[in-house]
Symmetry: C2
Subunit: 421 residues, 2 copies
């Protein structure tokens, strides 16, 4: 086990309600080992720009408060490094920055792209004769990482989605006699229907909302869909729909894109699946529709986070530090499910080669035969992930006490680097 | 004080996170007085159709659970009765139904339209020689009722809005370096900007989100707005906007309507203010935008209800029953603010004539001079209304334990009535 050097932590890609809980666990575990933890400002960009934050300057209370603060406390970014050949300058720059600051452990908190970057860096370190241990730390609301049973971040957006859907369904059912008959809630998940599936937890029987779920894994067929809506309204009085942003027509076009256009002012009409479906239902079936598109609200809703998700987000953070300090390299701590009921899980180490650049879609066995609902197998998988509440503390003003760090920037030691993105 | 007869409670218009708390308080207060409380199914329509529910058949635990269940437990509707002359048949039918079931007290839980209906019914009762006491019970997320300091339902949507805006602002700030620069959250309030103003509670200084609030009380000027967005992004790195669904151009057209159109399939493009503004910003300023439109999610979000709001919703329910049973007629229990800090309030009785068909807009003194923010006076008014948390109980499944009543329908005594709406 190394006894000197620093650890660098960076966040990558879209943030979640609990990614800061992972950050907090990383930093606290470093403190327990008397290891200095740096954080890269705005993810890998900060590492490229040598824009580093010394987290040891933050008060313990501020680090603890990360546990209940959504967003990315150090900033994240959407920057994907390409292959070592195509992007060698940038990879080499990262190693230079690590060397300049004696960074010996790099923790990259993100999805499958980030796992790939961490993997490449670990290899380049060896090639450049610099001892760096690279650990991937799982995070994504999309739940599409390979190997791990689930991804920290997903359980909370799943809970937000199920709770919100149940609430607005009660609203719709109250008014359906004279008002909205069809309600569409659009959820995230451009390539995988995990969040859409989680909406299914809001109901239990066929007549409970959501009456229809639209998954990106299945081609969207307007005629069948509209017939299903009509039948549901005739039977249940209303139809509440959860639709993934990523649904496509059989020809591969995204429904959201196909319905986008230009408004009377010549401006881009930013489509969205929910308004497209609502317009379709209104025009074809002459039913009153409403729709919601919570967008970032769903992935930042720390106020309704899942306790299970929070605990897993912290556990992967702690494990990542332990793995790094004990000399592991190019691995990721993942969640291994030991049993559904009672729900039991543990953390395991998995080589990044098994995770990098792979994508886990919703299995067909999780979707009912008609394509519009979730199966018992899906419920067994999803149910434990939204269990437990972990509300943030609230101030006397009625708002959650989210922390804003006062990041202490580390003095640069290298010439500037043009980190174009 | 009357000693026989029944009380009829009906919900009207859009439901809220706490209207059932009012219903629960009405029913429990009736039980304390040994008065049978009926509820009209789907609001005034149920009264017209003689579709009544005997709430005395519900278990006490179910009635208590109304306190934490959103939506309208007995159903609501959007039906406005016209003048006594134009709608005499329907008013007379209501009196007939009251008479057939010995209903001596009518509590109508809604906004200014409902106050008007309750007022007219109280007059017609006298004209038709039927002793009926009509009480308006305030409810509306829009907070636009006259006389009352605030409306039950508003505090909770205000809290949802402020919390959600603060959360998604943290998300945007984490990513602004390489991703979304401008985020628009659309909020309810077609004619009054109270909910939009509540978004302002999410921040304190000029550089806190929301950076721009768009109120329906002020004409929307695209050029000034876009300049403000550009300046904010230059200064703060991002711009988070809360926009009322009801903003209009100077010529009176709703922004949402002006930007609606037809998509490539010939379907109606259901506009929304948020996508219109986001498209405008993207095309004109070339900045990456995202937008959210929570729609019914905001008014049904019982999971993040304001405790102040909940207490007021219960207080008006209790007071309405007490007023009715002590013989008052054509009044509404309203909330009177006694002081801002500490926040103190009480319930007062006000004649419906002072409330019916009036609308309270956001005062100009609550909006900053530039038109894009809220003043200290607005904060003094709004701040107490979102204070306190009153989360629902959660089940082992991680979802709130919302109750579904088992309504016992009262046997009809009259011929059917064609209650077209």
């Amino acid at each position: 086990m190394k006894t000197s050097g620093k650890l660098l932590y960076a966040q990558s890609g879209g943030v979640t309600a609990v990614i800061n809980a992972t950050a907090g666990a990383v930093i606290e575990t470093c403190r327990q080992h008397a290891v200095t933890a740096y954080a890269a400002r705005n993810g890998i960009l900060g590492a490229l720009r040598e824009d580093l934050i010394d987290t040891s300057k933050e008060a313990p209370a501020a680090i603890r408060a990360l546990t209940h603060t959504p967003g990315g406390a150090f900033g994240s970014c959407r920057v994907k490094l390409k292959s070592l050949d195509e992007d060698r300058t940038r990879y080499a720059r990262l190693i230079d920055v690590f060397r300049a600051h004696d960074i010996r452990w790099f923790l990259y908190n993100g999805g499958n792209d980030s796992a790939d970057t961490a993997l490449k860096l670990s290899r380049l370190g060896r090639a450049m004769d610099y001892d760096i241990r690279c650990i991937g730390v799982p995070k994504t609301v999309d739940n599409d990482l390979a190997v791990t049973d689930c991804c920290p971040g997903f359980g909370s957006v799943a809970k937000y989605t199920a709770v919100s859907l149940r609430e607005c369904a009660l609203d719709v059912m109250s008014m359906m006699d004279t008002s909205t008959r069809v309600f569409v809630m659009e959820v995230m998940g451009r390539h995988a229907g995990w969040i859409a599936a989680a909406a299914g937890l809001a109901g239990h029987s066929r007549d409970d909302a959501p009456h229809i779920i639209l998954f990106p894994e299945l081609a969207f067929d307007p005629a069948t869909f509209l017939a299903q809506v009509r039948a549901t309204v005739n039977r249940a009085g209303c139809c509440v729909i959860a639709a993934s942003e990523g649904i496509r027509y059989a020809d591969g076009r995204f429904v959201a894109d196909a319905h986008a256009g230009t408004d009377a002012f010549g401006h881009t009409q930013l489509g969205g699946v929910a308004p497209a479906l609502a317009g379709m239902v209104r025009d074809t079936l002459q039913l009153k529709t409403h729709w919601a598109l919570p967008d970032y609200l769903q992935r930042s809703a720390r106020h309704i986070a899942s306790k299970t998700d929070l605990e897993q987000a912290q556990a992967v953070g702690r494990a990542a530090v332990e793995y790094a300090l004990s000399g592991a390299n190019a691995v990721m701590p993942v969640i291994k499910r030991r049993s559904d009921a009672p729900y039991r899980w543990k953390i395991e180490s998995v080589p990044l080669t098994k995770i990098a650049n792979r994508e886990k879609k919703l299995p067909r066995s999780f979707i009912t035969r008609d394509g519009y609902g979730i199966t018992a197998a899906a419920r067994r998988y999803l149910a434990p992930l939204i269990r437990g509440e972990a509300p943030p503390p609230y101030g006397a003003d009625g708002l959650p006490k989210y922390v804003a760090l006062k990041p202490a920037t580390v003095r640069k030691r290298l010439p500037a680097f043009q980190a174009k993105h």
